[in-house]
Protein backbone atom coordinates (compact mmCIF):
# COMPACT_ATOMS: atom_id res chain seq x y z
CA UNK A 1 0.00 0.00 0.00
CA UNK A 2 2.72 2.39 1.04
CA UNK A 3 4.76 1.43 -2.07
CA UNK A 4 1.81 2.29 -4.34
CA UNK A 5 1.36 5.55 -2.50
CA UNK A 6 5.08 6.32 -2.90
CA UNK A 7 5.06 5.63 -6.65
CA UNK A 8 2.14 8.05 -6.96
CA UNK A 9 3.81 10.77 -4.95
CA UNK A 10 7.26 10.54 -6.64
CA UNK A 11 6.37 12.07 -10.07
CA UNK A 12 4.83 15.29 -8.70
CA UNK A 13 7.64 15.50 -6.15
CA UNK A 14 10.27 15.17 -8.88
CA UNK A 15 8.50 17.81 -10.99
CA UNK A 16 8.40 20.15 -7.99
CA UNK A 17 12.14 19.68 -7.40
CA UNK A 18 12.88 20.26 -11.11
CA UNK A 19 10.62 23.33 -11.04
CA UNK A 20 12.54 24.76 -8.09
CA UNK A 21 15.93 24.06 -9.73
CA UNK A 22 14.89 25.60 -13.09
CA UNK A 23 13.36 28.61 -11.32
CA UNK A 24 16.53 29.24 -9.31
CA UNK A 25 18.63 28.99 -12.49
CA UNK A 26 16.35 31.45 -14.32
CA UNK A 27 16.38 33.88 -11.37
CA UNK A 28 20.17 33.61 -11.18
CA UNK A 29 20.55 34.54 -14.84
CA UNK A 30 17.66 37.05 -15.10
CA UNK A 31 18.74 40.57 -15.98
CA UNK A 32 22.26 39.54 -17.00
CA UNK A 33 23.65 39.38 -20.52
CA UNK A 34 23.79 35.59 -20.17
CA UNK A 35 19.99 35.51 -19.88
CA UNK A 36 19.73 36.14 -23.64
CA UNK A 37 22.09 33.21 -24.25
CA UNK A 38 20.07 31.07 -21.85
CA UNK A 39 16.91 31.86 -23.84
CA UNK A 40 18.65 30.65 -27.01
CA UNK A 41 19.80 27.46 -25.27
CA UNK A 42 16.23 26.82 -24.02
CA UNK A 43 14.87 27.17 -27.57
CA UNK A 44 17.50 24.67 -28.81
CA UNK A 45 16.58 22.18 -26.06
CA UNK A 46 12.89 22.50 -26.90
CA UNK A 47 13.67 22.01 -30.62
CA UNK A 48 15.67 18.91 -29.72
CA UNK A 49 12.81 17.44 -27.66
CA UNK A 50 10.21 18.24 -30.33
CA UNK A 51 12.38 16.75 -33.09
CA UNK A 52 12.78 13.56 -31.08
CA UNK A 53 9.10 13.25 -30.23
CA UNK A 54 8.03 13.98 -33.82
CA UNK A 55 10.60 11.57 -35.27
CA UNK A 56 12.59 14.14 -37.29
CA UNK A 57 15.69 11.95 -37.50
CA UNK A 58 17.92 14.30 -39.52
CA UNK A 59 17.18 17.29 -37.35
CA UNK A 60 17.62 15.18 -34.25
CA UNK A 61 21.02 13.91 -35.46
CA UNK A 62 22.21 17.44 -36.15
CA UNK A 63 21.03 18.73 -32.77
CA UNK A 64 22.65 15.77 -30.95
CA UNK A 65 26.00 16.61 -32.57
CA UNK A 66 25.46 20.29 -31.79
CA UNK A 67 24.85 19.53 -28.11
CA UNK A 68 28.08 17.54 -27.86
CA UNK A 69 30.04 20.61 -28.99
CA UNK A 70 27.89 23.05 -27.06
CA UNK A 71 28.98 21.61 -23.68
CA UNK A 72 32.39 23.27 -24.22
CA UNK A 73 30.70 26.41 -25.56
CA UNK A 74 28.45 26.45 -22.48
CA UNK A 75 31.43 26.36 -20.10
CA UNK A 76 33.13 29.19 -22.01
CA UNK A 77 29.97 31.33 -22.31
CA UNK A 78 28.91 30.91 -18.69
CA UNK A 79 32.41 30.80 -17.21
CA UNK A 80 31.79 33.73 -14.89
CA UNK A 81 28.32 32.61 -13.82
CA UNK A 82 29.48 29.04 -13.10
CA UNK A 83 32.32 30.39 -10.98
CA UNK A 84 30.01 32.76 -9.08
CA UNK A 85 27.30 30.13 -8.70
CA UNK A 86 29.71 27.58 -7.25
CA UNK A 87 31.24 30.19 -4.96
CA UNK A 88 27.82 31.13 -3.61
CA UNK A 89 26.58 27.57 -3.26
CA UNK A 90 25.88 26.90 0.36
CA UNK A 91 26.86 30.37 1.49
CA UNK A 92 24.65 32.05 4.04
CA UNK A 93 23.81 35.64 3.31
CA UNK A 94 24.66 37.18 6.62
CA UNK A 95 26.14 40.62 6.88
CA UNK A 96 28.80 39.78 9.40
CA UNK A 97 28.53 37.13 12.05
CA UNK A 98 30.56 39.23 14.46
CA UNK A 99 28.01 42.04 14.48
CA UNK A 100 24.84 42.16 16.52
CA UNK A 101 21.62 43.36 14.89
CA UNK A 102 21.76 46.57 16.95
CA UNK A 103 25.27 47.27 15.64
CA UNK A 104 24.12 46.69 12.06
CA UNK A 105 21.22 49.07 12.65
CA UNK A 106 23.60 51.72 13.96
CA UNK A 107 25.63 51.45 10.72
CA UNK A 108 22.43 51.58 8.65
CA UNK A 109 21.39 54.71 10.56
CA UNK A 110 24.73 56.44 9.84
CA UNK A 111 24.56 55.55 6.13
CA UNK A 112 20.89 56.59 5.84
CA UNK A 113 21.60 59.89 7.55
CA UNK A 114 24.55 60.62 5.23
CA UNK A 115 22.58 59.60 2.14
CA UNK A 116 19.64 61.89 2.92
CA UNK A 117 21.89 64.84 3.70
CA UNK A 118 23.70 64.31 0.39
CA UNK A 119 20.39 63.98 -1.45
CA UNK A 120 19.32 67.33 -0.01
CA UNK A 121 22.48 68.96 -1.38
CA UNK A 122 22.40 66.94 -4.64
CA UNK A 123 25.76 65.35 -3.98
CA UNK A 124 26.28 62.05 -5.78
CA UNK A 125 27.57 59.06 -3.81
CA UNK A 126 28.28 55.37 -4.15
CA UNK A 127 28.49 53.24 -1.00
CA UNK A 128 29.15 49.49 -1.19
CA UNK A 129 28.61 47.27 1.84
CA UNK A 130 30.58 44.03 1.86
CA UNK A 131 28.72 40.86 2.82
CA UNK A 132 30.03 37.31 2.27
CA UNK A 133 31.97 37.94 -0.94
CA UNK A 134 35.20 39.76 -0.23
CA UNK A 135 35.72 43.06 -2.05
CA UNK A 136 39.51 43.01 -1.67
CA UNK A 137 40.15 43.61 -5.38
CA UNK A 138 38.00 46.73 -5.36
CA UNK A 139 39.40 47.96 -2.05
CA UNK A 140 42.88 47.78 -3.56
CA UNK A 141 41.75 49.93 -6.50
CA UNK A 142 40.98 52.82 -4.12
CA UNK A 143 42.56 54.69 -1.23
CA UNK A 144 42.71 52.92 2.13
CA UNK A 145 40.83 54.74 4.92
CA UNK A 146 39.97 52.18 7.63
CA UNK A 147 37.97 54.50 9.86
CA UNK A 148 34.89 53.93 12.01
CA UNK A 149 31.87 54.68 9.87
CA UNK A 150 29.98 57.93 10.47
CA UNK A 151 27.57 60.08 8.47
CA UNK A 152 29.98 63.03 8.59
CA UNK A 153 32.87 60.96 7.25
CA UNK A 154 30.81 59.71 4.29
CA UNK A 155 29.60 63.24 3.51
CA UNK A 156 33.08 64.73 3.61
CA UNK A 157 34.40 62.05 1.25
CA UNK A 158 31.74 62.79 -1.37
CA UNK A 159 32.03 66.60 -1.26
CA UNK A 160 32.79 67.74 -4.80
CA UNK A 161 36.09 69.38 -3.75
CA UNK A 162 37.30 66.23 -1.94
CA UNK A 163 40.10 64.41 -3.78
CA UNK A 164 38.37 61.12 -2.85
CA UNK A 165 34.89 61.90 -4.19
CA UNK A 166 35.33 60.01 -7.48
CA UNK A 167 34.46 56.32 -7.31
CA UNK A 168 32.81 54.52 -4.42
CA UNK A 169 33.46 53.81 -0.76
CA UNK A 170 33.49 50.32 0.70
CA UNK A 171 32.09 49.47 4.11
CA UNK A 172 33.25 46.30 5.85
CA UNK A 173 31.73 45.50 9.21
CA UNK A 174 31.55 48.87 11.05
CA UNK A 175 34.58 50.32 9.23
CA UNK A 176 34.79 52.44 6.12
CA UNK A 177 37.78 50.62 4.64
CA UNK A 178 38.44 52.48 1.39
CA UNK A 179 37.31 55.39 -0.78
CA UNK A 180 37.69 56.27 -4.45
CA UNK A 181 37.29 52.60 -5.37
CA UNK A 182 36.60 51.52 -8.93
CA UNK A 183 33.71 49.11 -9.42
CA UNK A 184 33.11 46.95 -12.50
CA UNK A 185 30.58 48.46 -14.92
CA UNK A 186 27.50 46.43 -15.76
CA UNK A 187 26.94 45.59 -19.40
CA UNK A 188 23.33 44.59 -18.82
CA UNK A 189 21.59 45.47 -22.11
CA UNK A 190 18.38 46.39 -20.24
CA UNK A 191 20.05 49.20 -18.33
CA UNK A 192 23.28 50.32 -19.97
CA UNK A 193 21.70 52.86 -22.34
CA UNK A 194 19.44 54.61 -19.87
CA UNK A 195 21.55 54.83 -16.72
CA UNK A 196 24.69 56.73 -15.83
CA UNK A 197 28.13 55.43 -14.97
CA UNK A 198 27.51 55.51 -11.20
CA UNK A 199 24.42 53.32 -11.55
CA UNK A 200 26.20 50.98 -13.94
CA UNK A 201 29.04 50.63 -11.42
CA UNK A 202 26.56 49.84 -8.64
CA UNK A 203 24.82 47.29 -10.82
CA UNK A 204 28.13 45.78 -11.98
CA UNK A 205 29.39 45.23 -8.45
CA UNK A 206 26.15 43.62 -7.31
CA UNK A 207 26.11 41.36 -10.38
CA UNK A 208 29.56 40.03 -9.55
CA UNK A 209 29.34 39.93 -5.75
CA UNK A 210 26.68 39.78 -3.04
CA UNK A 211 27.47 43.35 -1.91
CA UNK A 212 24.71 45.89 -1.27
CA UNK A 213 25.23 49.27 -2.93
CA UNK A 214 23.50 52.52 -2.03
CA UNK A 215 23.78 55.46 -4.40
CA UNK A 216 22.55 59.01 -4.81
CA UNK A 217 22.25 60.46 -8.29
CA UNK A 218 24.06 63.77 -8.70
CA UNK A 219 21.64 64.90 -11.45
CA UNK A 220 18.30 63.99 -9.91
CA UNK A 221 19.15 63.45 -6.24
CA UNK A 222 17.37 60.11 -6.52
CA UNK A 223 18.35 57.40 -4.01
CA UNK A 224 18.63 53.77 -5.12
CA UNK A 225 19.79 50.52 -3.59
CA UNK A 226 21.31 47.81 -5.76
CA UNK A 227 21.49 44.16 -4.78
CA UNK A 228 21.95 40.96 -6.82
CA UNK A 229 22.16 42.96 -10.05
CA UNK A 230 18.88 44.79 -9.51
CA UNK A 231 17.75 48.21 -8.39
CA UNK A 232 15.33 48.61 -5.52
CA UNK A 233 13.43 51.93 -5.64
CA UNK A 234 13.60 54.08 -2.53
CA UNK A 235 10.63 56.28 -1.77
CA UNK A 236 11.33 57.37 1.77
CA UNK A 237 13.76 57.07 4.66
CA UNK A 238 11.84 54.26 6.40
CA UNK A 239 11.92 52.15 3.27
CA UNK A 240 15.67 52.64 2.92
CA UNK A 241 16.22 51.58 6.54
CA UNK A 242 13.93 48.55 6.12
CA UNK A 243 15.54 47.42 2.88
CA UNK A 244 19.06 47.75 4.26
CA UNK A 245 18.02 45.96 7.43
CA UNK A 246 16.49 43.10 5.45
CA UNK A 247 19.46 42.80 3.09
CA UNK A 248 22.11 43.00 5.78
CA UNK A 249 20.50 41.06 8.59
CA UNK A 250 19.76 38.20 6.23
CA UNK A 251 16.10 38.28 5.30
CA UNK A 252 14.92 38.92 1.78
CA UNK A 253 12.92 42.00 0.90
CA UNK A 254 9.59 41.46 -0.82
CA UNK A 255 10.59 43.71 -3.70
CA UNK A 256 13.53 41.59 -4.85
Amino acid sequence: MSFVFWTKIVPPLEIMILWFVFYRILVFFEGTRSFQVLKGVTVLILAFIVSQLAGFDTLNWLLTKLFAISIIAFIILFQQEIRLGLARLGQQHLFNIQLEESEIMAIVEEITSAVYKMQKNKIGCLIAIEKEDKLKTYIESGIAIDAKISAELIQSIFMSYSPLHDGGVIVRSDRLVAASCLFPLSDNPNFSKIIGTRHRAALGLTEQTDAVVIMVSEETGEISVASEGRFIPIVNRERLVNILKNLLVGQKTKSI
Binding site: I15, L18, F20, F22, Y23, T42, I49
Partner: protein, 36 residues
Protein backbone atom coordinates in the same frame (compact mmCIF):
# COMPACT_ATOMS: atom_id res chain seq x y z
CA UNK B 1 1.28 34.69 0.38
CA UNK B 2 -0.43 36.06 -2.72
CA UNK B 3 2.59 38.20 -3.61
CA UNK B 4 4.86 35.09 -3.57
CA UNK B 5 2.78 33.52 -6.35
CA UNK B 6 2.44 36.64 -8.46
CA UNK B 7 6.05 37.82 -8.05
CA UNK B 8 8.14 36.78 -11.08
CA UNK B 9 5.11 34.86 -12.38
CA UNK B 10 6.42 34.51 -15.93
CA UNK B 11 9.70 32.99 -14.77
CA UNK B 12 7.79 30.63 -12.47
CA UNK B 13 5.57 29.49 -15.35
CA UNK B 14 8.53 29.05 -17.71
CA UNK B 15 10.36 27.04 -15.04
CA UNK B 16 7.26 24.88 -14.47
CA UNK B 17 6.92 24.26 -18.21
CA UNK B 18 10.58 23.26 -18.47
CA UNK B 19 10.26 21.01 -15.41
CA UNK B 20 7.22 19.18 -16.84
CA UNK B 21 8.79 18.78 -20.30
CA UNK B 22 12.08 17.55 -18.81
CA UNK B 23 10.34 15.08 -16.51
CA UNK B 24 8.25 13.55 -19.30
CA UNK B 25 11.21 13.46 -21.69
CA UNK B 26 13.54 11.76 -19.21
CA UNK B 27 10.81 9.37 -18.10
CA UNK B 28 10.15 8.42 -21.71
CA UNK B 29 13.87 7.82 -22.25
CA UNK B 30 14.07 5.64 -19.14
CA UNK B 31 11.05 3.60 -20.28
CA UNK B 32 12.63 3.11 -23.73
CA UNK B 33 15.82 1.87 -22.10
CA UNK B 34 13.86 -0.61 -19.98
CA UNK B 35 11.99 -1.93 -23.04
CA UNK B 36 15.30 -2.51 -24.87
Amino acid sequence: MKSWFTHNLILKLVALGLAVITWFYVNNELLNQQVR
